[in-house]
């Protein structure tokens, strides 16, 4: 392949993608990075050593709002200047939206949320969830230009491909942005990142009322873990904050241990726990699908099992 262009609004995602690309430069070709918008010149410095041989910079004010149509126009032009035939983005919400806009502008194939990226026989192979998370579709993009947005955490770079990259000011002719940002409000300080927790206690609709969350929090504290939940508890009832929701529209987690309590095990939820090392399920229904995915199962009432388990953990700690 002729080259890779890496872009994301998230600088640490850029570094990972650039470093991974550099590890595969013999197949993918030289690595370029695009840094766009506010303060791009300064931000570019940190990408010089990440594996990119060229860092393209443009600070046009029209790029500041990150409107997908303007950013995709910039990336299409830079990809051409860099002679890149693979454009790697990060599959944040903005990144997914941008990837497909860019792919359409380039009349190219796109994988908008890759959970697997690899090279086999000189071809780029991607994997993504399909059929609502029931399956993984492994694919090859057939078009000459390829756009892939990679789910954060999917790839790692060794850092050994680092080179002293050249900074290039990109000449671009950009359309006027049509989407205006009125304000950008940080979400109420995100207090946890369950995607990176080692131990999770995930509760579902088996919980009868919000007050009973105390039981779950106590158990999580005994385990030195975090509370997580299924979608109804966050999005419908508002009992638990959305940043703790696991599933296809929430977080994808890779903990050492997850206790799944009063969760039925619908696939939209369970795609988010497939990466767990050990899954324990507690459910009053012996036929609940969650047991098929569990390493250890207890058929029982979470209101009995949870306090007893918390007590047992406390005693274990005391000994």
């Amino acid at each position: 392949m002729s080259g890779v262009l890496v872009y994301s609004e998230n600088d640490s995602h850029v570094q990972t993608l650039a470093s991974w690309s550099a590890d595969h430069a013999d197949t993918l070709g030289p690595v370029s990075v695009a840094v766009l918008g506010k303060d791009a010149g300064n931000r570019a410095e940190q990408h010089r050593g990440s594996g990119a041989s060229r860092v393209f910079v443009n600070e046009a004010p029209g790029l500041e709002g990150l409107a997908e149509d303007v950013v995709s126009s910039a990336l299409a032009q830079i990809a051409k200047q860099a002679d890149a035939d693979l454009i790697l983005l990060s599959a944040t919400r903005r990144g997914r939206s941008l990837a497909s806009r860019l792919a359409q502008e380039l009349d190219s194939g796109c994988v908008s949320e890759a959970i697997e990226v690899g090279i086999e026989d000189g071809r780029l192979i991607t994997g993504r969830y399909a059929l609502g998370g029931n399956t993984v579709s492994r694919e090859v993009i057939l078009t000459p230009l390829k756009v892939v947005a990679v789910t954060p955490g999917t790839v790692e770079g060794s850092g050994s491909g680092a080179v002293e990259g050249e900074i290039i000011s990109a000449e671009l002719s950009l359309p006027e942005p049509r989407m205006m940002i009125v304000e950008r409000n940080p979400k109420p300080a995100s207090t946890v990142n369950i995607a990176e927790s080692d131990r999770l206690v995930c509760v579902g609709r088996g919980l009868a009322q919000q007050e009973d969350l105390k039981l779950i929090e106590d158990l999580a504290a005994e385990l030195a873990g975090e509370v997580a939940c299924t979608r109804p508890l966050s999005s419908e009832y508002g009992w638990v904050s959305e940043e703790r929701m696991i599933g296809i529209s929430g977080e994808k987690c890779n903990p050492q241990l997850i206790l799944s309590l009063g969760v039925s095990g619908q696939v939209q939820h369970t795609v988010g726990i497939m990466g767990a090392k050990t899954i324990v399920a507690v459910n009053s229904d012996p036929n609940a699908p969650i047991f098929k995915l569990a390493d250890y199962g207890i058929v029982g009432d979470l209101y009995e099992v949870v306090p007893a388990l918390a007590d047992a953990l406390k005693q274990r700690g005391a000994n």
Partner: protein, 263 residues
């Protein structure tokens, strides 16, 4: 004002079964339903219609003849009209081809002010359709919207839900907007509306009628080759713990200790 809601017909994944290998999905014979994410888009369109005069809501979909039945749910929920692209060639298309069909139909409908979609569909959840349709039409796109308000006749204001921030944005119409499921709670259609849905108007096109060539959406135009599509291999112990509660908990802690997953 004319609002088009793009709605995908998908197999009912709750009824999905696998072959005896446990990994190969069996899609044959599954009932077709409307994808759930798009129902939030439809609900929003119907709420806009209820809140102001002269709003016409069109439910748009491309697929097999089964659509004629499936789309009735959208009409029962409150769409004024259905617009369907039905052609045997559609079953072999990909997401780029689907966006060609939807953009083509939106142009054929004419004078559309707003296109609403889900943030993804229940089956693929790729989220490519809103961006690709917007790009094909040359319109702005505002994706992952959790609050939406019309600001006058020709402008909209929306709150986009990004991972770490909420962004208030504005753009002129026409535009394509994709919505998240936090936007609203879709209503269930009353039985009477379901019975009457069949009487609402439906426009229908084949590819040729939209001026689209079959090889624009299939054959050499296919952009992705699928190597395999299987359930991931799961190696779980599936060990059910028996005995009294105390015995179960004892056995569990010993097992977790053994695996080294406790703090």
């Amino acid at each position: 004002m004319k609002i088009v809601v793009c709605m995908k017909q998908v197999v009912d994944l709750a009824q999905l079964r696998f072959k005896s290998d446990g990994r190969t999905p069996v899609l044959e014979g599954l009932p077709m339903i409307l994808s759930a994410f798009e129902k939030h888009a439809l609900e929003e369109a119907v709420r806009i219609k209820e809140a102001q005069a002269d709003v016409h809501v069109i439910a748009l979909s491309a697929g097999s003849t089964k659509l004629k039945e499936t789309i009735k749910e959208a009409l029962a929920i409150g769409a004024d009209e259905a617009a369907l692209v039905i052609d045997p060639a559609i079953k072999d298309t990909d997401v780029s081809g689907s966006s060609r069909l939807l953009a083509g139909a939106i142009e054929a409908i004419g004078e559309v002010d707003l296109v609403l979609t889900g943030e993804g569909s229940d089956d693929e959840y790729s989220g490519q359709i809103p961006s690709r349709v917007a790009a094909r039409l040359g319109w702005p796109q505002i994706t992952t919207v959790r609050e939406l308000a019309l600001a006058g006749e020709k402008r909209l204001r929306a709150v986009r839900d990004m991972e770490n921030s909420l962004e208030v944005v504005e753009c002129d119409l026409p535009a394509v907007v994709s919505v998240t499921s936090e936007l609203n709670t879709p209503r269930l259609p009353p039985l009477t509306a379901i019975l009457k849905a069949g009487r609402k108007p439906t426009q229908e096109w084949t590819l040729t009628e939209l001026g689209i060539n079959a090889d624009e959406i299939g054959g050499k135009a296919i952009q992705i080759e699928v190597l395999s599509n299987l359930a991931p291999e799961q190696e779980r112990k599936n060990e059910m713990l028996e005995g009294t509660l105390e015995e179960q908990i004892d056995a569990l802690l010993r097992a977790l200790e053994h695996e080294g997953v406790l703090a």
